[in-house]
């Protein structure tokens, strides 16, 4: 078995796939091409940054849309979390983030802000149909990358790859047949050369959410749809779950609701770094915390 890696840019971030394989050079290249094609297909459907995407069309034209066949897991999780968080986690956040300045042109200049519509006012979802009642800019950024990582993981598995890690902008999916320990450092949002702890896993996904990079004009890319500001009381969250879709979504949700609300419905571990620099971890957290006196 050989250790190989794919590295490339896609969906606005850097990807790195490390994997063990016995493939020929040609077969590896074919696998990489397949993966990048699939990512582009996903981007063409769900990106609000592309003029040619389904999302952009939905932001311009009301109507009944037939969703792509891969939409179901993502849409149904969004719907479930929308209700669980009383609308704080919503795909309708797109217009708010865009108006705050994080728009398709990266103008980074805030315009007038208004709260997004309620789900039932703007949408009606019964897979495969999504009714756009009035044009709305949807944004699946909170969990879309995670879902795409899962999809890429399936491509690897179908290609006979049994041991791999996918790192897309530091959202991570890991699998190893011997369940070897995998140590994920929790990057300090205040100092990228440091980690505040380590999550030690044997499989599954670790996703982080923090306002430490995409910041502008008093906002970062996570926004509260009711008070129209970015949360300041939490510096960063990390979630470990079976799928990257779930870990990605839950890491965002932890900014908005108490962990126990999410723990009632989902199986996951987490760490939350609050602005006062204390790190709260779940009872099932496995790893290390670097705190004073520890």
């Amino acid at each position: 078995m050989e250790k190989s890696a794919f590295t490339f840019d896609a969906i606005g971030t850097k990807w790195r796939i490390d994997f063990e394989n016995g493939l020929s050079e040609g077969a590896r290249l074919a696998l990489l091409a397949h993966i990048m094609e699939r990512i582009d297909e996903f981007d063409k459907n769900y990106s609000r940054f592309r003029a040619d995407s389904l999302i952009t069309e939905m932001s311009r034209r009301a109507g009944i849309y037939t969703l792509p066949s891969d939409a179901e897991p993502m849409l149904s999780l969004y719907e479930k979390l929308y209700h669980l968080t009383n609308g704080l986690f919503t795909p309708l956040i797109g217009q708010l983030i865009s108006d705050a300045g994080y728009d398709a042109e990266y103008s980074l200049v805030p315009k007038k802000l208004s709260p997004p519509p309620a789900w039932d006012d703007a949408l009606s979802y019964h897979f495969p149909e999504l009714v756009i009642k009035k044009p709305a800019l949807l944004d699946f950024g909170a969990a879309g990358k995670g879902y795409l990582i899962d999809i890429v993981g399936e491509i690897l598995k179908n290609g006979g790859i049994k041991s791999f890690s996918i790192d897309a902008g530091s959202d991570i999916l890991y699998t190893h047949p011997d369940k070897k320990s995998f140590r994920v450092g929790l990057e300090d949002p205040a100092d990228f050369s440091r980690v505040v702890g380590v999550m030690e896993i044997t499989k599954g996904s670790v996703c982080a959410s923090a306002g430490s990079r995409r910041k502008w004009a008093g906002f970062h890319h996570i926004m509260n749809p009711y008070i129209l500001t970015s949360p300041e009381h939490i510096l960063g969250t990390w979630a470990h779950a079976k799928t990257t879709l779930l870990a990605d979504a839950l890491a965002s949700c932890l900014f908005f609701v108490e962990s126990k609300i999410l723990r009632e419905k989902f199986d996951f571990a987490y760490a939350i770094l609050f602005a006062d620099r204390h790190l709260e971890v779940s009872p099932n957290f496995t790893g290390e915390i670097f705190a004073k006196g520890m």
Binding site: S170, G185, R213, R277
Partner: protein, 194 residues
């Protein structure tokens, strides 16, 4: 250089005010427990609280980063496609730059009984908070009780460890920003100076 120092100071203040604001939220939360009706009024007061921040104690110049303004950066990676490099990956970033030392702030807020203050001291080293303490300054008995509850529940603080000191398979943090985003930030900062 002077402008950079001013911006550095503003950022220090901003960070400290942010930390103070969330220290006071538990105080407000305790009030809310006592009387839910006044919760929104107290919250408003705290958000508008005036802070005076002064740096006390020994000031060390951080020689490596002195004068540099905090910049977002995408770590440089040389990444040829489809290669066989080592499995371990680390990420590097630009450390936040605040002068080492003790920072004291006094927060003013309006309790249902009247104006109160609470003191907060933070110690920064290498841009990381390594110590913090709250000082009960309330004068009214109930306010004093509230502040004491917060002080008693002050949680242990994390101190980050340098990445190369820890055995890691990966580092997980917020997604690297797209180049377009970074370019826009640089453009806006340039406009702000001009």
């Amino acid at each position: 250089m002077e402008e950079q120092t001013k911006e550095l100071q503003k950022k220090s203040w901003g960070k400290i005010i942010g930390i103070i604001a969330i220290i006071l939220i538990p105080i407000a939360g305790v009030y809310a427990y006592v009387n839910k009706k006044i919760w929104s009024k107290v919250q408003e007061e705290i958000l508008e609280a005036q802070f005076k921040v002064q740096q006390i104690g020994k000031e060390n110049k951080n020689s490596e980063t002195d004068g540099k303004v905090e910049e977002e950066s995408v770590p440089a990676q040389k990444n040829p496609v489809n290669t066989n490099p080592p499995v371990n990956t680390t990420s590097t970033g630009t450390p936040a730059t605040y002068k080492d030392g003790s920072y004291t702030a006094v927060g003013n807020y309006l309790s249902p009984g009247g104006a109160e203050t609470v003191g907060l001291t933070l110690v920064l080293k290498d841009g990381v908070v390594i110590d913090a303490s709250l000082e009960v300054q309330a004068t009214r008995p109930i306010s004093k009780q509230m502040q004491e509850i917060v002080v008693a529940n002050f949680k242990p603080l994390v101190i980050g460890k340098k990445i190369d000191e820890v055995k890691l398979s990966k580092v997980s943090g917020s997604s690297l920003t797209p180049k377009g985003f970074n370019d826009a930030v640089v453009k806006i900062k340039a406009q702000a100076k001009g």
